[in-house]
Assembly symmetry: C2
Homo-oligomer: 227 residues x 2
């Protein structure tokens, strides 16, 4: 049965990403070892929370000696399958699709966009490192590169159709940039990234903040936000 996918990144996973970013920064500063309270302090959570999150993702440390940063980062790479290559297709080569196809960070993290697709024949002629194909060739490419992950960057009106096609062709995970709720079978992961909502939420909190006079109210507002 198809349903609107209710997928969101778990808060513990978000925190793991945050710890990782801290570890990378500490490593650059020449630090070799951290304690859970260092990470807690840097990220604004409790030491217990750090240890709990680590244990949820199967990361164990020496309570007294702390964690070796290199070892921690290595474990995280394994958890996120960074040591493997991930072949990805991108559908929709509008402004956003084009920018995403050129996003160097993906490649640096072994996330390879092997092909992009667009219905516009003119875009199929763009000279770029990554080929732009007609959607007719989606099955062939997905099969050839054993692709399981796709990025949707098409306009809102075509997003559901593209999603259905991708699911039929064996795609198991989708990151969707179209501002449209996609229906997909429960075994397919859909992560909706809605840029307007992200910006609108900043505006919402800024207005709330401006209304709240004085630091006290601001602190209350912060405590109110679940991490």
């Amino acid at each position: 049965m198809k349903k609107i996918t209710k997928y969101v990144i778990k808060n513990s996973l978000k925190r793991i990403f945050l710890y990782r970013a801290c570890l990378v920064r500490l490593k650059m500063m020449g630090v070799e070892k951290v304690f859970s309270y260092t990470l807690a302090n840097e990220t604004g959570v409790t030491s217990d929370q750090v240890r709990k999150d680590f244990s949820e993702f199967g990361i164990r440390g020496n309570k007294r000696g702390g964690y070796e940063i290199d070892e921690l980062l290595g474990k995280m790479e394994k958890i996120f399958h960074r040591n493997k290559d991930h072949n990805i297709v991108l559908i929709g080569m509008g402004n956003l699709g084009l920018a995403l196809s050129k996003y160097q960070r993906f490649v640096q993290r072994n996330m390879n966009i092997v092909a992009t697709f667009d219905i516009d024949p003119f875009k199929q002629k763009i000279r770029s490192d990554i080929p732009v194909y007609s959607p007719d060739r989606m099955k062939e490419i997905i099969d050839r590169f054993r692709v399981r992950i796709a990025i949707i960057a098409v306009p809102e009106v075509s997003a559901q159709e593209v999603c259905d096609d991708l699911v039929r062709l064996g795609i198991k995970g989708i990151i969707n940039f179209a501002p449209q709720l996609l229906k997909a079978p429960p075994e397919v992961i859909v992560n909706n990234v809605n840029l307007c909502d992200e910006l609108e939420s900043v505006i919402y909190y800024v207005h709330k903040q401006i209304k709240a006079d004085g630091q006290k109210n601001i602190e209350l507002l912060y405590r109110d936000m679940k991490y």
Copy 2:
């Protein structure tokens, strides 16, 4: 005191965005009234949750008669200050910045990027609807348009410096696309959107799903995810 901002969008706010997307779709289908259980069913939460979220954001309905969709959408527009124009500046006109500056959806929702900034003199000559200025002119533009919200799309290495400048110039809310944890005073809202993390989380769940044999495990995985 500057600290790494721990801001994330509250789950209740995320759900409000989800309800809104549903309402827009229902309206397009010609529906005029909804009950909380309609929205609950469409978004996969309980009716109680819908009512609780509405009450948190000051939206009241008639328990028996349901909600008028138009009225609900109107209330939501007020909550998100959609009826007002929001002037925004964008810093960094690389591929992503350029795509964001052309993102039509922002304009449709009264979020106006009034100016963009880039240190590259070549980019300052780009002919586009939105001017590209040298960062020297940031103070002048922010003051003239009374800008309080900024989008950071610069490379990682310059993100913190740009953030510091923006805060000094009176910016109260930032959406940051650089994969860098920004330090900002507690009264400034920073919403970090890390595209790599978003994609990596999809890969993580897809691998977890592939490992989990059978529907039963998959359902457990889903329940495990906090919405």
